[in-house]
Amino acid sequence: MVDAVFLALSVLTIGSAIVALEIRSLIYGSIALMLTLSGIAGFFLLLDAPFVAMFQLSVYVGSIAVLILFTVMLVRRELIFNKIEDKRRRYAGIGLMLALMLGIGMIIIGSGMKSIETNSPSVDYKKIGEDFLTYYSPALIVMALILASSVVGALTLARREDMTNDQRAD
């Protein structure tokens, strides 16, 4: 059975995910996305993974959400509140969402996953740190290179070559 904290967290996560997609203003949408990501961090805490939860908070809530907020503020004001979408496509999308939820949910409820519970003690997070520096150290180096190169790539993409005469399509 689920407890009250789990219920509150799932309502917060799912509700703010819907709000992030449906609210008119993109700024409030990105703040709602921030709430969703914090809810996921709460789930990580419930799953006895405090290291991943803190990583999620610092990377997702701290940097990605702020990056999205700044990008939203760079965009023209009308576009932030602009919400054009096809009505029929929207109903088809809601139908697809419900079908996915019901279909995969039924499969999971029907499978043997329902009886899986655990009483074993959780993994010590010191073990993860040790793993990172010993067994996974090549992967850690490759990940650092990927992060650095992608940040450099993003900077190169977003840089304006010429402030007075930038390229336009129109």
């Binding site: 996560t13 992030a20 993974a49 655990t118 993860i128 990172f132 993003a154 304006r160 336009r168 399509a169």
Partner: protein, 101 residues
């Protein structure tokens, strides 16, 4: 633990379905990135949940790598949105006509 594995997996499925809805219906490029974020987060939740119930530390390690790669992906995606906005003065996906290749 009072919560079973199935509870976490069901929350993850709901988040995945909402993310797919956002990707398929929205035409705003930044909102589509929101949908991608939700899908990645549901995958991470699954990883950590299964790692807790095995129990095993490798799922958490993989989740950490996945979070870091997602950060790189968002940085590049937002840079692309900014470039497209500068070229077309719009962030509507259907206006990005000449990106067809």
């Amino acid at each position: 633990m009072t919560n079973g594995l199935i509870d976490f997996v069901l929350v993850s499925v709901a988040l995945l379905a909402i993310g797919i809805y956002g990707l398929s219906v929205k035409r705003n490029a930044i909102r589509m990135l929101f949908g991608v974020e939700m899908i990645i987060n549901s995958a991470n939740l699954n990883l950590v949940a299964f790692a807790r119930f095995i129990p095993n530390s490798q799922g958490q390690t993989l989740a950490l790598f996945s979070i870091a790669i997602a950060a790189a992906e968002v940085a590049v995606g937002l840079a692309l949105v900014i470039v497209a906005y500068r070229m077309y003065k719009n962030i509507d996906i259907e206006d990005f006509r000449s990106l067809k290749g």
